[in-house]
């Protein structure tokens, strides 16, 4: 049967564009402009989905994006809402929550067991015995959740966009459009978004029986078009507010990151269902859903209908249905006094019978529950209790509910506003709004059409005033003069337990009564225990009724009971809109391309890319690392250390500043010499180290660790400000590159490129100088981090590649080779040099790390000094020690962070380990309990497999403890 009505003014479907689509394997026809739900209803398909828990049949309910039981997938996209999904040729979808098809869903058997699935059932039933939980979980996972993920899908990148405006107007209904016009007239840059495909909001469906509605809409759009400072984006939801008017806008194709200066929320209301027996079956729907079917999609919702009303809107629904050719059998009006406006007369004129003070007691299902065939109605007594002993049976295939509204106020909450329940409208309305937020129209409790337009205009002016574009008087918000549009308690008790409050989660009235009886009498507890409002529609059709029920059970008001807040997203957002591309910030040294060309395996060190080692065909990673390290010990190697922090410190207070930042003394440091610098934080924990070179009386050059450089520079800047010192700090990390040339032959290599005398007497260990290297002016430092004769050469980044290649060339006759960060780590470990934040953690003091020698004697102050004075008095709880393993242990060795165990107690952990070393046996550093730290003590380490491996505490450095390698002369 075709339920399509003759063409109507303002309909959204394009009758010239017929489309064929498939649903649950069957083929149907609809029109361009239809959503899935409307096209199916037009084909008289009423079973559109199954509920989540009991697999009850469900049909069109809100037709506004909240129909959580009408969710489909097409094999690629999943969890699409039937009332939002546009039909198109070739669309082929099926329902997500069924086993064996929608029509014969085998899981619908759970509905029969509803008596045995009380609220909290899963929490209680599957709690014990614990050992069975994996089984329970496995079984539950088969029926829990919605949709199937096709893991064979291609990754779909969706674009991201940025936008800016003065005023964001959310909702293109009468209030939003009027607000946009007012703001645009004051010169604001206005962006209007509306989640529907066309502007108009309620004007396109709710007032559609009145000619004035269309005139209003046309007039508003015309005024809007006169301004070129207004953009109107339909099909775009304001998905969430994230602070300072940063709002996520989502449409079918992408996410727009909007920064507005203010926001006008004219989002209207969600129509709310009544609670009565079988209020969920196909054929029972919101009055607004019936109106949307008629006005937007030209679909006749029912053949014979009952309207359950508690407001003027219900009478409009009855008139709209009547006009669309539906036989309106009755209006059951929950209000004893009925309707006071002229609508009562119009309904009477249409011959529609009105039962005042009546409720729908239950909907009568047809066989199989897949549609309804009637309803029983009865009078309500003075307390609102149904007189179920005197039921009137009326045959019908549809019930339209029009009993109340709740504000679509998520954005207002998220921006920091609060709502209060106002009795004159029986609705939550904004109580306070954050500065820059404005609300107008029904979300603001203003219902009349003219009033909504006035309220929108007022809010637009208020926004302009807030932004300083309007200096006149902003008129007050219009009041609501009519009777409330919402009924205070549209909930009909019934022993049948199919009077659903939350259709997403299949919660009925008794579930709330039971939860309350079990002590969940607070709204937040009730929500979490019962899961009300936690389904796909996030309580848009259930929260306020749940609050009403709880308020009544507690004998409290709505305001005393409280409401739950509303978090992003407003409507479900496909995760591809949120997923960023795989961007990873990278810093590359000037020699990066050389490393890559020479087969370097690159690794991240923070944001920096560094060569881990250089691959050689037929050689394993470990072999390559050991070969590189051995080559440095015996010959000469060079490594790119451009990632080191490089700070230039100058000015009259430089010495004093450095003495406060670092633990050591620098006043007597000679020009042209380096000293070790150790920095602690105020608690005495090691935070960085490096070398400090003095170029002149008040000019220093300081290195910092690759990972700690940014923080070290930042803290130096802060202290310089606090101490008000005459010192200039320049972070040269990026504009200087650095090369470490090391090994017994390195002096000969470097000497070929510079006229500076590098002999041991002229440029001894820890010397610093400025030199010309390969015709490039360089800072030269003689350092020994890897334990061999070595030079650090710091040059401008732009010339670093030239210097690197010159060194490679000069070193050719010595067999020079580059080495990577792994070989460097091995070499320094052999030499017993710690790496801050590798061998130290967030609590390691210089005493624990055995670097207390770097603390200057009799210093009155440096950052951390006072804390170290306290720590010095206390016994150590751990010490950084060396460990050596038997060479035969290779293969079962611990990894970094494996724990050291003694008498079943945790006594330490490995901080660095080298499974192979140039010494011939594995070595490690560990933080260890001091009573086990004596040289020669055997300790046990629990490795990842669980077994214990023995190691012996060894003295550090493992390699060259006399530092004699600094005096090595190459045989050349």
């Amino acid at each position: 049967m075709d339920r399509r009505l003759p063409p109507r003014d303002g309909e959204w479907i394009d009758r010239s564009q017929s489309v064929e689509f498939r649903f649950e394997g069957a083929t149907y026809r609809g029109f361009e402009g239809d959503v899935l739900s409307s096209a199916l209803w037009a084909n008289d398909v009423r079973l559109l989905g199954r509920s989540f828990k009991y697999h009850r049949p469900r049909g069109v309910y809100s037709l506004a994006g909240h129909d959580a039981n009408l969710i489909v997938e097409d094999g690629i996209r999943t969890n699409m809402r039937g009332d939002m999904l546009a039909v198109s040729s070739g669309l082929d979808v099926r329902s997500v929550n069924t086993l064996g098809g929608l029509d014969r869903d085998r899981l619908s058997i759970t509905g029969r067991f509803g008596e045995f699935l009380p609220v909290g059932f899963y929490y209680k039933a599957f709690h014990t015995p614990r050992r069975l939980f994996p089984f329970y979980e496995n079984q539950m996972r088969k029926v829990a959740g919605l949709g199937r993920i096709n893991s064979a899908n291609q990754r779909a990148n969706s674009p991201k966009d940025y936008a800016f405006c003065d005023l964001l107007v959310v909702g293109a209904g009468p209030a939003g459009l009027a607000g946009a016009i007012a703001a645009a007239e004051q010169g604001l840059d206005v962006l209007i978004v509306d989640e529907q495909q066309r502007p108009g909001g309620s004007l396109v469906w709710q007032w559609a029986d009145a000619a004035t509605a269309r005139e209003h809409l046309e007039g508003l759009l015309e005024q809007l078009a006169a301004h070129d400072n207004v953009r109107l984006w339909c099909g775009t939801q304001a998905a969430g507010y994230y602070g300072d008017y940063w709002v996520a806008l989502v449409d079918d194709t992408h996410l727009t990151k909007l920064r507005a200066k203010s926001m006008l929320v004219a989002t209207g209301c969600f129509e709310q269902p009544a609670v009565f027996q079988n209020n969920d079956l196909p054929g029972v729907m919101l009055g607004s859903a019936a109106q949307r079917l008629i006005q937007l999609y030209a679909v006749k919702p029912f053949d014979r209908a009952i309207v359950l009303a508690a407001n003027s809107e219900g009478y409009r629904v009855a008139l709209d249905l009547n006009e669309a050719g539906v036989d309106v059998a009755a209006i059951a009006d929950l209000r004893r006094d009925g309707e006071a406006t002229e609508l009562a007369q119009r309904v009477d004129d249409a011959g529609i019978r009105v039962y005042r003070g009546y409720c729908v007691y239950e909907a009568v299902p047809a066989a199989g529950n897949k549609r309804i065939r009637g309803a029983t109605i009865c009078a309500l007594d003075e307390k609102g209790v149904p007189r179920s002993e005197a039921l009137t049976r009326i045959d019908c295939d549809g019930i339209a509910m029009s009993i109340g509204w709740t504000p679509n106020g998520g954005l207002i909450y998220q921006a920091g506003g609060r709502f209060t329940h106002a009795e004159h409208v029986e609705q939550l309305i904004p109580q306070t709004l954050s500065p820059g937020t404005f609300a107008a129209g029904r979300v603001n409790g203003v219902f009349g059409l003219e009033s909504q337009i006035d309220d929108g205009y007022r809010a637009g002016l208020a926004a302009a005033a807030h932004l300083g574009s309007f200096t006149g008087d902003v008129p007050p918000s219009p009041s609501h003069y009519e009777s409330p549009s919402s009924h205070p308690y549209p909930i009909i008790a019934h022993k049948g337990k199919k009077n659903f409050v939350d259709l997403d989660e299949d919660l009925h009235l008794a579930d709330f009564e039971n939860a309350h009886q079990e002590g969940y009498d607070n709204v937040e507890l009730m929500k979490r225990f019962s899961t009300v409002g936690m389904g796909p529609s996030q309580g848009k059709l259930s929260n306020i009724n749940a609050v009403r029920i709880l308020a009544r059970l507690n004998g409290a008001t709505i305001n005393q009971t409280g409401t739950t807040t509303s978090r992003p997203f407003h409507q479900p957002v496909p995760i591809r809109h949120l997923a960023g591309r795989s961007f990873h910030p990278q810093r590359r040294t000037p020699m990066n391309h050389w490393h890559v060309r020479h087969n370097a395996e690159m690794v991240y060190a923070g944001a920096w890319l560094r060569p881990e080692y250089y691959r050689v065909d037929g050689e394993s990673r470990d072999d390559s690392i050991l070969r590189e390290a051995t080559h440095v010990r015996n010959n000469v190697g060079l490594i790119d250390v451009s990632t080191l922090g490089k700070l230039q410190i100058s000015g009259p207070d430089s010495v004093e500043f450095l003495e406060r930042i670092y633990t050591g003394r620098f006043a007597k440091q000679q020009v042209g010499r380096l000293r070790y610098g150790l920095a602690c934080d105020e608690t005495g924990v090691i935070i960085d180290d490096g070398v400090i070179g003095r170029f002149s009386e008040d000019r220093f050059y300081v290195t910092a660790t690759s990972s700690g450089a940014a923080a070290q520079y930042r803290e130096m800047q802060r202290w310089a400000q606090i101490w008000n010192m005459d010192v200039t700090l320049v972070n040269a990390t990026g504009h200087l590159a650095a090369i470490n040339l090391a090994g017994p032959c390195c002096r000969d290599v470097l000497q070929e490129l510079t006229s500076t005398d590098l002999s041991a007497t002229a440029f001894p260990y820890l010397a610093l100088g400025e030199a010309i290297v390969a015709e490039v002016s360089a800072k030269l430092m003689r350092v020994g981090f890897v334990g061999e004769l070595g030079y650090e050469i710091h040059v401008p980044a732009s010339q670093a590649m030239h210097v690197w290649e010159a060194l490679m060339q000069a070193g050719e006759r010595f067999g020079i080779r580059p080495f990577g960060v792994e070989a460097q780590r091995l070499l320094r470990l052999e030499k017993g040099h710690l790496i801050v934040s590798q061998d130290t953690d967030a609590l390691t003091s210089p005493f624990e790390a055995d670097v207390a020698w770097a603390i200057g004697k009799n210093k009155t102050f440096f950052v951390g000094a006072r804390s170290l004075a306290i720590l010095r008095k206390k016994p150590l709880t751990r010490r950084l020690v060396g460990l050596m393993f038997a060479a035969s242990d290779a293969g079962t060795l611990p990894e970094e962070c494996n724990l050291i165990i003694a008498n079943d107690e945790l006594v330490g952990r490995i901080t660095s380990i080298a499974p192979r070393s140039t010494l011939g046996y594995p070595i490690a550093m560990a933080l260890l309990s001091p009573d086990l730290a004596k040289i020669g003590t055997t300790v046990k380490i629990r490795v990842d497999g669980g077994s214990l491996v023995e190691a012996v505490v060894a003295s550090m450095p493992f390699y060259d403890p006399e530092n004699s390698r600094q005096n090595v002369q190459a045989e050349s």
Binding site: D244, W246, E682, R718, Q721, R866, S867
Partner: protein, 97 residues
């Protein structure tokens, strides 16, 4: 509406040198505290200074750092509303009123 905790990730902060900039450009530097005289403070007073922070709701004085320009400044932030009431350079509060 519960109290909002933390800082919403899309905030705009006004750097005294660079004007309004997005939060991502800033680094939080902790509460502004005055160091007691290390020579006269007791161990307990010193430990209180380095370890304890004032967490009570209200107007907070905090260090913030604008990373791209390397600017440290002080912000007065109401942690109940997450509002930056004012920002100024260290030592400039008197002149800033």
């Amino acid at each position: 509406m519960p109290l909002r905790s933390g800082i919403s990730i899309m905030k705009i902060i006004t750097c005294p040198i660079n004007g309004p900039r997005p939060l991502q450009e800033f680094h939080f530097g902790g509460e502004v505290r005055t160091m007691p005289d290390p020579n006269s403070a007791t161990d307990e007073q010193w430990a209180d200074y380095v370890f304890n922070r004032e967490g009570e709701p209200g107007l907070k004085r905090e260090w913030w750092y604008h990373v791209p320009s390397g600017t440290w400044f002080i912000a007065e932030r109401d942690n109940r509303t997450d509002e930056f009431v004012r920002t100024f350079l260290y030592g400039a509060e008197e002149c800033d009123g």
